[in-house]
């Protein structure tokens, strides 16, 4: 992609995404970490738009920045006040070393590999094509996903039901 707007958008969104991901990793307050996480999700959604993935970008904002972050805030306020810290445990240094190793390996593979680049323009619009392939080529995983969501919903309800609730029936 050559045009200046896209290049500028890519760099700005990269700074926002990685900067707020660093915030998630190193900020001390858990609520602040969730706010940084939402900003990072928004940055990734912007990167999807620069990749002409409009449907995925909107789904990202709806589900990640909307639903999952609200769930996180719920989990934080339902747990005790004195645990709202974002501190590291005893695995801090091994985790840092492993993360750096993984980043180095992935970047080496990304740069060194000769990818089969296709010289085509961005997608015009993706929603209708994704819908068609969901109901045609991927109809079985699509149906399984609906069962999975039902199971997850029932599982979450059963898990957090107050103790002794089954006796009240």
């Amino acid at each position: 992609m050559e045009d200046t707007g896209t290049v500028l958008a890519f760099w700005l969104l990269t700074i926002v995404t990685i900067g707020s991901a660093l915030g998630v990793a190193f900020v001390r307050n858990l609520i602040h970490a969730v706010v940084f996480l939402v900003v990072s999700f928004m940055g990734v959604a912007g990167l999807y738009i620069t990749l002409s993935a409009d449907f995925v970008a909107v789904a990202q904002i709806l589900i990640y920045a909307g639903a999952i972050s609200v769930l996180m805030v719920f989990a934080i306020v339902l747990t005790p006040q004195d645990e709202r810290k974002n501190a590291e445990g005893f695995l801090r240094l091994p985790a840092l070393a492993l993360a750096m190793l993984v980043a180095a390996t992935l970047i080496f593979v990304a740069v060194d590999n000769g990818w089969a680049i296709a010289d085509r323009p961005g997608f015009e619009e993706t929603a209708s094509l994704i819908g068609e392939s969901l109901l045609d080529k991927y109809v079985l995983p699509f149906e399984i996903a609906s069962v999975l969501l039902l199971v997850a919903m029932l599982g979450a309800i059963v898990l957090v039901r107050p103790e002794g609730a089954e006796d009240d029936e």
């Binding site: 290049v7 991901a21 296709a118 898990l159």
Partner: protein, 104 residues
């Protein structure tokens, strides 16, 4: 100057490594989940950028896969945060350092 596949892959790699650090190093159960969500995001970004740039007969398959990953991630988040609430109710803490019931 232009933006190529490699740029997006490097962003995805850095995001994945940060998520991995958060998921492994943090003491709070909810922070661990945040790290896992960051890793999901990095993988999704990689999927979408391959879908945009790499030679393929059906380039939108990457997008469809991302939709499925988002679905599974949403289900995972709902169950895992329910588990966080349950852990607090049973153990009185959500610090993963103190969960050593399997220690001999």
């Amino acid at each position: 100057m232009s933006v190529d596949l490699e740029h997006y892959l490097i962003v995805g790699a850095i995001l994945f490594a940060l998520g991995m650090y958060v998921a492994l190093a943090k003491r709070n159960f909810v922070s661990v989940l945040m790290g896992i969500e960051l890793m999901f995001n990095a993988v999704n970004l990689t999927f979408v950028s391959f879908s945009r740039f790499v030679e393929s007969d059906s380039p939108l398959d990457g997008h469809v896969f991302v939709i499925f990953v988002i679905t599974v991630a949403a289900a995972e988040a709902a169950v895992a945060l329910g588990l966080a609430v349950l852990l607090y109710r049973v153990h009185g803490t959500i610090s993963v350092d103190e969960m050593d019931a399997l220690k001999g």
